[in-house]
């Protein structure tokens, strides 16, 4: 996200926590876990939360197809209209919602996001799903779980558990949108 709250008195110290190959391995493992847990990924639909969740959902879908030859539909679900913090900032532009042609009724929906933090985004996504259809089950996959949950939500598939301080920021870069793969931990330090 692009909320650069850097004041002139602070300096950012950033450290890469995951590099390109680490991300690839994490996604590979998540794909295997999805296949294992859903017994072959029948009826699975991958829905990414824009922007980077969509890219991750697509990558996981490609892996599942490669490992067991099942085509898993992937799409995106925008949660902007369901956020609980809309009144805190000026109205934001909407992301894309693209649902697979068969819809989500009776399917196992795996929500995919880049970073799991407070859990509020996932709460909004669950509300959005409820207005679109009635999945058989909803699961959650995330590349990074950085803790600090504010709601009773947990991920089913986690790329990396990353202990963080509240003041730190986690940024995910993916080659499709950012030209490289990396997860970076940004520390704000007072000078």
């Amino acid at each position: 996200m692009s909320d650069a709250r850097t004041r002139p008195t602070t300096a950012n110290v950033s450290r890469a926590v995951l590099e390109g190959p680490d991300i690839q391995r994490a996604l590979t493992r998540i794909a295997h876990e999805i296949l294992e847990r859903t017994k072959g990924a029948q009826d699975v639909v991958l829905l990414g939360i824009p922007t980077r969740g969509v890219t991750l959902a697509r990558r996981i879908g490609e892996r599942v197809a490669r490992f067991e030859g099942v085509t898993v539909p992937s799409g995106s679900i925008d949660i902007t209209m369901y956020r609980d913090d809309l009144r805190l900032r000026p109205a934001r532009p909407l992301g894309r919602t693209e649902l697979p042609a068969d819809g989500i009724d009776g399917k196992i929906v795996v929500l995919v996001d880049d970073v799991l933090f407070s859990g509020r985004t996932v709460r909004a996504a669950l509300d959005a799903l409820g207005d679109i259809g009635r999945p058989r089950a909803v699961q959650l996959a995330t590349l990074v779980d950085r803790g600090h949950r504010e709601l009773p939500i947990r991920a089913d598939y986690v790329g990396k558990n990353l202990p963080t301080a509240m003041s730190e920021k986690v940024k995910v870069y993916l080659s499709e949108t950012d030209g490289r793969d990396a997860v970076v931990l940004i520390k704000e330090e007072d000078r």
């Binding site: 925008d78 209209m81 369901y82 809309l86 009144r87 805190l88 900032r89 000026p90 109205a91 934001r92 532009p93 909407l94 992301g95 894309r96 919602t97 509300d127 207005d131 679109i132």
Partner: protein
């Protein structure tokens, strides 16, 4: 985005594209089984209609309800306005009720502008006299873009009663902002004096303009405002400026026909043209709800902006 939507001319290119892009996403909501979003829960939208209107009022009402806002409909008939209440007192009443947005239609040009000085909420102009009707222009641009793609360099011809048309003015301003080339075609008596300063071209020859048009928008002949002899007879108007099958045939194959409604079939537009697949008239109504959802979301969905200026 500014706090109010009073003139299409107030919209920057970025604002206009943001509204159109937002509407593009919201269009999906109308196709779902649950056509509702929780976004404006707890917000109040007042529809303040001093002039008759069905489609615009219903469209705003549907848009606000799909975003979960509370809607209060107010029409001048049967209200204290018929007892002589002034616009200002009506505004103060709305203010006291805590309206977050007021959608106003008024027969006097400039009424929404005045209203904006008296109430704290966002004002959306739903048509003021012969001045502007910005959400109509937005839904027209949205309908064009859905059929033809980006509007840069597209040629749009607007035909008919430009003098009394708030739709024409808003469309000219918005389409110029979006990079389209607009040509107005009308009898000289039905063009406003100020038209020379508008960002568009003028022609009196419909047949000459049609082959070069990507969009032909027919305006309604507003009989209720025809208080002088603007043209000799309805038949003559129809022959020179009406869109019939012959003229439709002279347009390029990809070109579309639009009409803001309500239509006078047989007057400015022939029934078979209005019902042809190249006409966007029914889509325009559907798109109207979508574009108004986008406008209400962008005006009310975020934080309250500080100060009246922004």
């Amino acid at each position: 985005m500014k706090r109010h939507l009073i003139s299409a001319g107030d919209l920057s290119r970025d604002d206009a594209l943001l509204i159109l892009d937002t509407a593009e996403e919201l269009a999906q909501v109308s196709q779902r089984s649950i056509k509702k979003l929780p976004t404006l829960r707890g917000r109040t939208v007042v529809n303040l209609f001093f002039e008759d209107s069905t489609r615009t009022r219903i469209s705003f009402e549907a848009a606000a309800k799909r975003l979960s806002a509370d809607v209060i409909n107010f029409s001048a008939k049967g209200s204290s306005v018929s007892k002589g209440e002034s616009l200002k007192d009506t505004a103060l009443t709305l203010q006291a009720m805590g309206a977050d947005a007021v959608v106003i239609r008024h027969s006097a040009s400039g009424a929404p502008h005045r209203l904006a000085e008296w109430v704290d909420g966002s004002i959306v102009n739903a048509g003021d006299g012969t001045h502007e009707h910005p959400t109509q222009a937005l839904l027209d641009a949205f309908s064009m873009r859905r059929r033809l793609g980006p509007l840069d360099g597209r040629r749009v011809t607007i035909v008919g009663d430009v003098l009394h048309s708030r739709v024409a003015r808003s469309n000219v301003l918005l389409l110029a902002t979006l990079g389209a080339q607009v040509t107005l075609v009308a009898p000289p008596t039905l063009l406003p004096v100020s038209v020379g300063s508008w960002p568009c071209e003028i022609s009196y020859d419909l047949d000459g303009v049609l082959p070069k048009s990507d969009v032909v928008m027919m305006l309604r002949v507003q009989r209720e405002r025809m208080n002088a002899a603007f043209f000799p007879s309805a038949r003559e108007y129809s022959r020179r400026y009406g869109l019939d099958r012959d003229r439709l045939g002279r347009m390029p194959d990809h070109a579309v026909v639009m009409h803001p409604g309500p239509m006078n079939r047989g007057m400015e537009i022939a029934a078979e043209v209005a019902d042809s697949p190249r006409s966007t008239i029914v889509e325009q109504v559907t798109n109207g709800v979508t574009i108004r959802m986008a406008v209400l979301y962008l005006l009310l969905g975020g934080a309250e902006l500080e100060g009246g200026a922004q």
